[in-house]
């Protein structure tokens, strides 16, 4: 299983052997501006390190966001093109779910109750979702200014780059937990869900915002008044 995610500043790739429950190789870079350049060389390196060919991969797992659009599309276009070339099925997972799962693996106990995952949505907003525990999301992911989330959300243990960025607004930031997305967690989560017979998401981007575009007013009159 090859997992990748480009919906956050991280470009993360992991090759996971679900049968043997082990990560064969992985690569993580944090560089919000170079997703397009970094992703394929990372995949090539991961496959090379594991001594496997892309054609041997049985399942592709891709983070579908939410995330800033340009980077997000790199991962989805890549996974979709792999599918087009090789017929390998592509499974989508919410990027925030991967972070929640990673937080669970890093020690955020189920006994701690609900928590919130937030990533940077730019324009002073965060993509966020609430979780009952590391594998149970409460409701759909959303985008908002951190300060608008309401005291009951902001007081929850908070995980992810968006929480760290707005520390202070989020009052219980767990900076010791993974801040960046990891394809390793994404792969393990996907394997777990597929193992339970669950359907994952189609590989379609979660933008959560409409494209910025205004219908222009009529043309500007050029004749001086």
């Amino acid at each position: 299983m090859l997992a990748l995610d480009t919906a956050t500043p991280a470009v993360t790739v992991a090759l996971y052997d679900a049968g043997g429950d082990r990560i064969l190789a992985s690569a993580d870079h944090v560089d919000a501006r170079r997703h397009g350049e970094l992703l394929l060389p990372s995949i090539d390196r991961v496959l090379g390190e594991a001594g496997r060919a892309l054609a041997e991969v049985t399942d592709l797992v891709v983070g579908v966001g939410p995330g800033p659009y340009t980077g997000l599309r790199v991962g989805l276009a890549t996974a979709e093109a792999f599918r087009a070339a090789l017929g390998t099925p592509v499974h989508g997972l919410c990027t925030l779910d991967g972070l929640a799962y990673a937080a669970g693996r890093a020690g955020l106990g189920a006994d701690e109750g609900p928590f919130v995952v937030a990533t940077d949505a730019r324009r002073r907003e965060v993509y966020w979702a609430r979780y009952a525990d590391p594998v149970t999301r409460l409701g759909e992911p959303a985008v908002a200014r951190a300060a608008e989330l309401g005291p009951e959300v902001l007081a929850l243990p908070a995980v992810g780059g968006g929480a760290v960025l707005y520390e202070g607004t989020f009052t219980d930031v767990r900076a010791e937990l993974p801040v960046d997305q990891s394809a390793e967690s994404l792969a393990r989560l996907a394997a777990e869900r597929l193992g339970r017979g669950e359907e994952l998401l189609p590989p379609r981007p979660l933008y959560l915002r409409r494209p910025d575009a205004q219908v222009p007013a009529n043309y500007k009159v050029v004749t001086p008044k």
Binding site: G36, E37, L40, L54, T70, L76, A81, D212, Y219
Partner: protein, 375 residues
Amino acid sequence: MADEPLVLGIETSCDETGVGIVRGTTLLADAVASSVDTHARFGGVVPEIASRAHLEAMVPTIDRALAQAGVAATDLDAVAVTSGPGLAGALLVGVSAAKAYAYALGKPLYGVNHLASHICVDQLEHGPLPEPTMALLVSGGHSSLLLAPDITADVRPLGSTIDDAAGEAFDKVARVLNLGFPGGPVIDKWAREGDPGAIAFPRGLTGPRDAAYDFSFSGLKTAVARWIEARRNAGEEVPVADVSASFQEAVTDVLTRKAIRACTDEGADHLMIGGGVAANSRLRAMAEERCAAAGITLRVPRPKLCTDNGAMVAALGAEMVARGRGTSSWDLSADSSLPVTEPHVPAHGHLHDGHHHDGHHDHVHELSRKNLYAP
């Protein structure tokens, strides 16, 4: 011929998702998905809408092209993709998909220049390009005169627009006339009913001291708008057909005059015209007349190959393969301002590091953004 390279080309620099397949200089498939209707109500291409549409259309368009060509992906000799110039986010979808597709198939990858592709596409219509080829590229994003001694390695900018692209002028005049977006086809249609000599609109940069090969359409656009407003303010009807014909005449007059002058000055006996505006019927007719009078052979591809498409990218990719040019590496990036002097982007050893280009390259290769709404 079966030993000519079979190449798939991907183009996503603006609002058309294009995938073409060629064998050498033979066109096998030209599949295009356009998001132009979505942009129409915004009066211009909205980059984020274009990028979203590219992602959705990418794989279906690849599949459609393969079916059209009747070839299997495994038979391809290479995958080519527009790596620039163009809209950054839009280019990135095509580049990401092309890299992954080539990688998965184990095929070489060629990142190529959009403008050089516009020239090379004519090989699919009229056979191998003469060397050198003089090319006039005119569209909503570019207006340039280019001399190409070798389309895979040596393309020289002679001149370009100093303000609006020719296609942009069509869009803006169409907007003033309330004719909708895009403006090119609709003005062409109206102009057929009008008198091209009815109104004497200015010919920009045609004075004896003006740059011989540069263009300017901003003044013309303003002159047309003023003329129309004067009529409206006087409560008179605006003669849409005459305005369209006279405006179109001014644009095509300047374009062909300068192109022929460049041919004569450089000793080029062939003129190639490409880009979306090359679909304009008056431009084609006038170029034919003036080229014939000057003893220059005119090469204009059919309209569908003039607008942005994947076949042009495949055509240049096939030429790269045929001439043994270097392939691109897996870290190929989308370069929204790729200079026209770089017909392709070979793996490393290339001059630029991350933020490359020495900064003096000018508007020649840059997609004009004046009619684009910010991302």
